[in-house]
């Protein structure tokens, strides 16, 4: 990075550190923080969408759909999340390859499960073995996003389902009295009003989502945990920048990163709650109204 970094063995003190902290691998470590933030920003809306779908399914008048909605959130919540992460990544991958296999190679005669192997024709592999490295990385990341969205969608479904039921019955009855259809009542009355009831649960979920991001490491993504272990491990003098086992310091840095993220989210969500409470027929809204007077 800097001009004086060409021969790291001659460096001392702060200069050594400045060179060490700007090597290519260190840069990859810094970039992986962006991976975590990207995962958070992509997953949150997708999970919310899944949750909305789940909550709508759970409220459905069509029985099998209702069972699906209730079962979805019940099962995901009853089992350790990490088991789901490990399960869905393989299951989704195999499912996609299986479908592609059926479409692309209809005349393939060997069985797909051969003993301990899962074999599909080469054209059905995901991603294709000929594709460049970045495709593999994007594919892995997308699988992770979908997995997170499925798991957190179930939590969100539960929160949103509760929030929909918390909207005062009188509001719905008024809408019906005006002659609105079920669909109109849902979209014009229920959905706009449910957010304030959903916010505490969703804030909590966001905090949990933040704390779930290190699990990316288990899904085989080169995230901050991967790099912290990689870079922190002891480096002998064979390396350009030898140092003892520094993993403790790397993990301390990760800890500080997560604590900062949590704190910032807390402050932001607190402000959002205050804003959404304005004009609501709740104790909080009443307090804001009388305080303003």
């Amino acid at each position: 990075m800097f001009s004086y970094c060409s021969d790291p063995h001659t460096l001392e003190g702060a200069r050594w550190l400045s060179c060490y902290l700007t090597t290519g691998k260190q840069m990859a470590f810094y970039a992986s923080f962006a991976t975590v933030l990207a995962l958070l920003l992509v997953t949150a809306p997708v999970a919310l969408l899944f949750g909305f779908g789940g909550a709508m399914a759970a409220r459905s008048h069509f029985l099998p759909l209702r069972w699906f909605g209730r079962g979805y959130s019940a099962i995901v919540r009853g089992v350790p999340d990490i088991a789901f992460f490990l399960f869905f990544v393989i299951a989704l991958d195999q499912g996609l390859e299986y479908i592609r296999h059926k479409i692309k190679c209809p005349d393939w005669d060997q069985p797909i499960r051969q003993g301990n192997d899962f074999v599909v024709c080469p054209q059905a592999k995901l991603p294709l073995s000929s594709s460049p490295q970045w495709v593999h990385e994007v594919y892995g990341f997308s699988l992770a996003v979908v997995t997170f969205a499925i798991v957190f969608g179930a939590f969100a479904a539960n929160v949103l389902y509760g929030a929909m039921r918390a909207v005062p019955r009188a509001q719905i009855e008024t809408a019906e009295a005006y002659g609105m259809t079920r669909r109109q009542t849902f979209w014009r009355i229920l959905v706009p009003q449910m957010w304030i009831y959903a916010l505490p649960g969703l804030s909590n979920l966001w905090m949990i989502l933040i704390k779930a991001t290190p699990l990316l490491f288990l899904l085989g993504i080169e995230d901050i945990v991967y790099w912290a272990r990689e870079l922190g491990g002891m480096k002998t003098s064979a390396f350009a920048y030898p140092h003892p086992d520094w993993r403790l310091w790397y993990f301390l840095a990760l800890m500080v990163f997560y604590l900062t993220l949590t704190r910032v989210s807390e402050v932001f969500l607190g402000r959002l709650a205050a804003r959404l409470t304005h004009g609501q027929a709740t104790i909080g809204g009443e307090r804001l109204r009388t305080a303003a007077r």
Binding site: I75, R77, G78, V79, P80, D81, I82, A83, L86, F87, I90, A91, Q94, R113, N116, D117, F118, F155, N158, N204, I208, L209, I210, K211, A212, T213, P214, L215, F217, L218, V225, A228, R229, G232, D245, R247, L248, F251, L252, L254, M255, Y258, L259, T262, R263
Partner: protein, 279 residues
């Protein structure tokens, strides 16, 4: 090998009793059920110990956070913030690395070198190190729950205790503490449930599974890796955990009934199963 033989060979494999070698090929359903079930011993061990010690610690943390002196209050607040604000996964890594470094840092206690080295080595093993991390973690979460409950203790109860001339420890043990527990119990049940779920992280986060003695998820992922078929071991694991969750709900429900036994039925705290998983 019949299923009974398998149970004999692998039923206690997770704690090192039985066959040394794990099955390598031709996995039967029985083997998967047995090994994953034997791994569950570790999950129960971690969960029970962490909850047992954590229960007392969290009461202390809640009281400290409720204290008037800021020298007591601030450390408790920081403790709760650090352990609730960061992922358990990172905490495991951090503590494991710290424990590994301990002998190298070399804290000399006058107990004698043999005893000291033995003690620090144990910290890097899951049976002690992971329990410490889980204990600190659950203390922070439960401390926050208990603190909330402590503040919700009705004023009238405390005033009645004062009127009876109860002070200090007597008032706390007879009046405040039982009421706090009663109010906190439904939330604490959820905490216990996801404490058990969190124990699955141990062997995926630094702590090595020594001689392949791992927990239920360790064996489940072992089978999934070997067979490349996630559709059998993970549902088995899920089944075991749902059973474990139901057991926890039954035990904590019984305690809840006892805590509420003096109340009129309609004023009792309802148990709601509403776990929040990841931490």
């Amino acid at each position: 090998m019949s299923c009974l033989d398998t149970v004999q060979a692998y039923g206690l494999r997770a704690i090192g009793i039985g066959s040394r070698l794990l099955p390598k090929t031709d996995f039967t359903l029985c083997e998967q059920f047995t090994l994953i079930g034997s791994g569950l011993i570790w999950n129960i061990y971690f969960g029970v110990l962490a909850l047992l010690f954590g229960f007392f610690m969290s009461t202390g943390v809640a009281l400290a956070k409720n204290a008037r002196s800021r020298w007591i209050r601030k450390p408790a607040e920081w403790f709760i913030f650090v352990f609730r604000g960061s992922p358990l996964f990172i905490q495991f890594f951090l503590f494991y690395e710290a424990f590994v470094l301990l002998p190298k840092v070399g804290i000399d206690i006058t107990l004698g070198p043999v005893e000291l080295t033995a003690q620090t080595r144990w910290l890097t093993r899951a049976w002690l190190g992971a329990v410490i991390v889980l204990f600190l973690n659950t203390s922070a979460y439960a401390g926050e729950i208990f603190h909330g409950a402590l503040q919700a203790v009705p004023r009238g109860d405390v005033e009645a205790a004062d009127a009876y001339g109860m002070r200090g420890w007597t008032r706390f043990r007879r009046i405040i503490w039982p009421t706090m527990l009663r109010l906190a119990w439904p939330a604490y049940t959820n905490e216990a449930i996801f404490m058990f779920h969190a124990t699955t992280l141990v062997f995926f986060s630094g702590f090595p599974a020594w001689q392949q003695k791992g927990d239920a998820l360790y064996y489940a992922s072992y089978f999934a890796d070997k067979t490349f078929n996630p559709f059998i071991p993970y549902p088995i694991l899920a089944g075991y955990f749902i059973l474990l969750t139901l057991t926890v709900i039954a035990v904590f429900g019984a305690i809840n009934r006892r805590l509420n036994r003096h109340l009129a039925p309609e004023r009792r705290q309802k148990m709601r199963f509403r776990p929040q998983m990841i931490r």
